[in-house]
């Protein structure tokens, strides 16, 4: 399988502080890859670096094209959907407006309409709340809206930061089920950052472990899952 996203020697800086030193990984087209690591290891920063939301240095190739240094909005237009941690929605806009703005860059109006219907198929709850302001939705509904919003971009790659953040276990399970369907049915490749390593390793085909801004381990999820250090540090048994 060819790599959809190729990252080599990635460094990132917040002001004078360097938070990524040498991050490299590949995301196969059509797969789900997860980044594991403790708080502060640089997982979120890696996602932000891909979209040029922090100062970065290194190589980032998407579908064979060098995208390092391009403006965030231009990278998004290559159909990379980044759903940031927490509530990735416009809180003062309605659900309907959130979904419409998500398809702002698309010109294929008929396909947008079909995608809207499909998104409502995944999240019927959003259809009931279509005229409600996003900020008034429950935490789970906002997560659904954030994913729905990302889907409306018709992404080739989805960068998903902490989908379980602040949610009840049942809702987390539902969100992960939907992420799998999105990957299988819509052929969206996913790069997943998740605190809950057990869940992430179940969903993902490949895993990379970050420590203080460096990749310290990588491989197929099944292998990483059984690594003794990973088990002790991230899985807790």
């Amino acid at each position: 399988m060819a790599a959809l996203l190729e990252v080599k020697g990635l460094k990132a800086f917040y002001g004078q502080t360097q938070s990524l030193y040498d991050v490299g990984f590949e995301i196969p087209d059509g797969g789900i890859t997860t980044l594991l690591g403790a708080n502060g290891a640089g997982k979120t920063t890696t996602l932000r670096a891909i979209c040029n939301m922090v100062r970065t240095d290194g190589t980032i190739r998407f579908a064979g094209k060098d995208i390092a240094g391009q403006a965030t909005e231009e990278i998004v237009r290559l159909r990379i959907a980044h759903v940031p941690e927490g509530r990735g929605t416009f809180t003062t806009l309605t659900v309907d407006e959130n979904l419409r703005i998500a398809a702002y860059t698309r010109r294929d109006k008929a396909a947008v309409h079909a995608d809207l219907e499909r998104v409502f198929g995944y999240f019927p709850r959003l259809k009931e709340r279509i005229q409600q302001q996003a900020g008034t939705l429950s935490g789970g509904e906002q997560q659904m809206l954030a994913i729905a919003r990302a889907l409306m971009l018709k992404p080739r790659l989805m960068l998903r930061d902490e989908p379980s953040f602040g949610l009840a276990p049942l809702i987390v399970q539902e969100i992960f089920r939907i992420l799998r369907r999105i990957n299988e049915d819509d052929k969206v490749s996913i790069l997943l950052v998740e605190q809950n390593a057990a869940l992430a390793l179940d969903l993902a085909t490949h895993a990379y472990v970050l420590e203080t801004g460096r990749v310290v381990m990588s491989g197929p999820s099944s292998v990483v899952k059984n690594d003794e250090n990973v088990r002790k540090s991230y899985l807790g048994y």
């Binding site: 909005e73 806009l93 407006e97 702002y104 971009l153």
Partner: protein, 301 residues
Amino acid sequence: MEQFLQQIASGLANGAIYACVALALVMIYVSTDHINFAQGEMAMFSTYISWQLMTWGVSFWFAFVLAVVFSFVLGVVIERAILRPLHNAPVLSIVVVFIGLLAICNSVAGAIWSYLIKEFPSPFPKSSFGIAGVIGPHQLGVVIVTLVVLGLLFAFFRYTPLGLAMRAAAQNPQMARLVGVRVDWMLALGWGLAAAVGAVAGIMVAHIVYLDPNMMGGILLYAFASALVGGIGNPGGAVVGGFIVGVLENMVAYAGNQIEKATGIYIIGNGEKLTVALIIVITVLTVKPAGLFGRVVVKRV
């Protein structure tokens, strides 16, 4: 009674002007958190452009449209050329730039067209327009034109993809980038629209206050008061605030006149109208800082 209605009507006409300028201020405020002190002077400059076109023989409405388009372009250019490089500058630097812009517009207009006060025509027919004894043709015309412009703006922001993108960019620039909105251009566009709305206000009010480089000074203050009354981050509130302030200043002066007539004691009159605006500013800021329609912003720490 007739005098009372007259005062309300002229208050509404003035209020329409304040509403436009207040909306211009709010449009820039919501996306940048800055108050453009030069908004009034930019509008004045646009008004001179329309006047110049008219003296060259261009008809009123054509000159109106050209001046509004010119203002739009000027607004975009100012944002791109002057404010873009100051994107991460501290607030004070930006305030200084605004004051500089104010002074530049004022003195350039003075240099080109002199500080002599000029008459400015009204496009509205004298007879059979307005309601005799209550509202004059120009006042009624001003209310109609501004309401049409405000309605168009509302429809633009509410119903078009570009308007939606501008609102998204103002609400959460980083998220807007993540859905592919070119946020920098949205800001420039916002400046253009604000300048255009300001120009409409300037051209409409010039017949009433006459044309001179300092014509917008007081109006900017009223507009600021209006924006605060409505809630500085709320465009609809700014418009309502404009009408409230316009009517209120007339009512205060009217009440003062009535008291003087009845008792012979002078408390307040037409001369103190601007003071009323300042009192409104101070009262709103101390009693209800979020304004009538504003939301109290609570920051999670």
